[in-house]
């Protein structure tokens, strides 16, 4: 919380170095590779020129190798394996392992539960998006005006973003719960007792309540992104507009807001990816069933429940392959929509 909020203060290049960012996790592996590199990069007199040329051309790949192995083993292989498993009828336990082709995909696309969850995700996404592009932008604009205590406000307003969704969920359980929640007693004390209800098991209010909790956690992202977008806008442009007689309001909408379109793009795509993966907050607040009556069920909880069964890990109704097929489907849809979003939003961006 130092006091120098210089314009470039949020750029990574000006941040002082952190403690312990560079550790020595893999010294043996590194040394081994170093020795090989050493022997490869020295222009040995007797060595054939072609070998030296190969090192020159492909030597850099040694640096990529350890990370590549990690990436292939723990991300690419599981993805390929997911696609493979989605063509079978395997339940996760038991010997049943028959090829069923696209049957799992067909079943997912014709099940109302899948659409209900997807619809909840969509509502979730739109609500959070509106929240971030209004309240987040408004707060970022206020912070960008560099009021006194700007550092303090910024520190406080980013705080929820670094909290886990589990912690966030419990923080809001303390407000919303019908047992220990503070909201209902508060409403009764100020004479609005008729509004009190069990927010998280009310069919109308459960989804909005869950969305608000997630919005509280995500607010920091929109402030961060818009604030750094605002800081990148040259002051001269605004001054020029003001000299030309534009009001503050006109300057914002005609000059500043169009220049924020890259921030708009980043935030929209980031929110889309975050919200279609949403799981934790629903799990904590309304449980893996998406209570009440599936009103808060999202794709994340649906896949989880399908994979392991309603009764918890490895129960009888677990359907691993079907769950994996759903997750493949979600990935394909997410990938397509992300690309579409990026293409559409980039088109309307203006050069600064």
């Amino acid at each position: 919380m130092r006091d120098n909020a210089n314009r470039s203060g949020s750029m990574p290049s000006t941040a002082p170095h952190p403690p312990g960012a560079t550790g020595h996790l893999l010294p043996q592996a590194g040394e081994g590779r170093a020795r090989r590199l050493q022997s490869n990069t020295r222009p040995w007199p007797g060595r054939r020129r072609r070998a030296a040329g190969l090192t020159q051309r492909y030597g850099h790949l040694w640096f990529v190798l350890p990370g590549l192995i990690m990436f292939l083993t723990f991300i690419v292989y599981p993805m390929a394996s997911a696609v493979w498993l989605s063509f079978f009828d395997w339940k996760g336990i038991g010997k049943n392992f028959n090829f069923v082709g696209l049957a799992n995909f067909h079943q997912a696309l014709s099940s109302p539960g899948f659409y209900r969850a997807a619809e909840n995700n969509l509502v979730f996404f739109i609500a959070i998006l509106i929240f971030q592009h209004t309240i987040g932008l408004l707060i970022a604009v206020q912070l960008n005006a560099r009021p006194r205590f700007m550092q303090v406000y910024r520190t406080i307003l980013f705080l929820p973003t670094i909290l886990s969704l589990i912690a966030t969920g419990f923080i809001w359980t303390l407000i919303l719960s019908p047992n220990i929640g503070l909201l209902n007693p508060l409403l009764r004390q100020i004479g609005l007792g008729f509004l009190a209800r069990s927010w998280l098991s009310d069919t109308t209010f459960a989804l909005p309540a869950v969305i608000l909790v997630q919005a509280w956690n995500l607010l920091g992202w929109s402030i961060i992104i818009y604030l750094s977008g605002l800081q990148n806008i040259p002051q001269e442009l605004r001054q020029a507009a003001e000299i030309d007689g534009a009001t503050t309001w006109q300057t914002f909408w005609r000059v500043v807001f169009p220049l924020l379109s890259p921030s708009f793009t980043s935030l929209t795509v980031l929110t889309f990816i975050q919200i279609f993966r949403v799981f934790d907050v629903v799990y904590v607040l309304t449980g893996p069933m998406g209570a009440p009556a599936g009103r808060t069920d999202v794709l994340g909880t649906l896949v989880y429940r399908t994979a392991f069964g309603v009764g918890g890990m490895s129960s009888n109704d677990a359907r691993m392959s079907y769950a994996i097929a759903m997750s493949v489907l979600i990935f394909l849809i997410m990938g397509a929509v992300s690309v579409l979003l990026i293409t559409l939003l980039r088109k309307r961006e203006v050069e600064a």
Binding site: M1, R2, G9, S10, P12, S13, T14, A15, P16, H17, P18, G20, A21, G23, L25, A34, L37, R57, Y58, H60, L61, F63, P66, G67, M70, F71, T73, F74, I75, M79, S81, A82, I135, I139, A145, P147, Y153, F158, I162, S164, I166, A167, I171, L174, I175, N179, I180, L182, W216, W221, I224, I225, I243, L270, R277, D280, M313, I324, V328, S338
Partner: protein
């Protein structure tokens, strides 16, 4: 800017500026309260005993139950889950930061074979939905015998931290002047020495961003350990809290004490290094 305006307009302008400043502070204070009040009440709640949750919902505890924290240590198994979280996050942050720095150095020159392809390959890993890989990952870890150890989390976290690391670090390395490594090469340094002694120190701000961004999600991650850390001895904090809640759903004081303990390390680190966190989060958010 008021100095530019004509003197006649100055007073009214100054007055409207003051009104704007007051409105601005009112808004920011309101927003700060929306953040701080729930957090404050959570801390207060962690010192209450169960009857006070119902009898005295708004006030401070009549007697501060430090006992909640002592009991949470054993009964909510923080004694197990806190060290687990620390070990997993430390190893995975270190691993993903170092490995992505290596990759970034390896592919920083576009003209080298495969450099661009590898960059795109790693970065597109950002789009991988955890939901899709976690189930096959569960099967893979069982097959290779890592299941039931902390490495069942460390390795996947490390791999999942790479896309962001490559995304942030590659442009940084590429922007370093080539003369630096050329000079070191002429002085007889090999590629490994150049990386370790010349390139890595220059990447520090970027490494900090990568470590912070990955560290925060790794510490907070819930979905992966929920499925992979089935053994209670390998659970991390978020999963530990949830499984405790399932068993003792009425011990609210202990639940909130656990929540405070799980959030405290990240919050303290954040308060001490706010600027680095903000810089790191900005770098990640804009590129993500």
């Amino acid at each position: 800017m008021s100095t530019l305006a004509a003197p006649r307009r100055q007073t009214s302008r100054r007055r409207s500026q003051r009104t704007a400043a007051i409105a601005r502070h009112a808004l920011l204070i309101l927003a700060s309260l929306v953040v701080l009040v729930p957090i404050g009440y959570t801390i207060i709640a962690s010192f209450k005993d169960v009857p006070e949750f119902f009898g005295n919902p708004f006030g401070l505890p009549h007697t501060w139950q430090w006992q909640n924290y002592v009991r949470a240590w054993t009964e909510a198994r923080i004694a197990v889950t806190l060290p687990n979280s620390i070990i997993v996050t430390t190893l995975a942050v270190t691993g993903s930061t170092v490995l992505s720095a290596l990759i970034a150095y390896g592919i920083c020159r576009r003209e080298k074979p495969f450099a661009m392809a590898l960059y795109v390959f790693f970065v597109s890993g950002m789009l991988v939905p955890v939901q899709m890989i976690v189930l096959p990952l569960f099967l893979l870890l069982k097959a290779i015998g890592l299941f039931g150890t902390l490495f069942a989390l460390v390795f996947p976290y490390t791999a999942l931290g790479l896309p962001l690391g490559v995304l942030i670090l590659t442009p940084l390395v590429a922007a370093l002047p080539r003369d630096l490594s050329e000079a070191a090469r002429i002085d007889g340094a090999n590629e490994w020495q150049i990386f370790w002694r010349v390139i890595l120190p220059l990447m520090r701000p970027g490494l900090a961003s990568v470590a912070i961004l990955n560290g925060v999600w790794m510490w907070n991650e819930f979905f992966i350990p929920l499925i992979i850390s089935v053994k209670s001895s390998t659970q991390t904090l978020p999963v530990g809290i949830m499984s405790f809640v399932g068993v003792y759903s009425t011990e609210w004081g202990l639940v909130f004490a656990s929540v405070v303990v799980s959030a405290a390390p990240v919050v303290v680190a954040y308060l001490f290094m706010t600027r680095q966190f903000v810089a790191g989060l900005t770098a990640g958010a804009l590129k993500g």
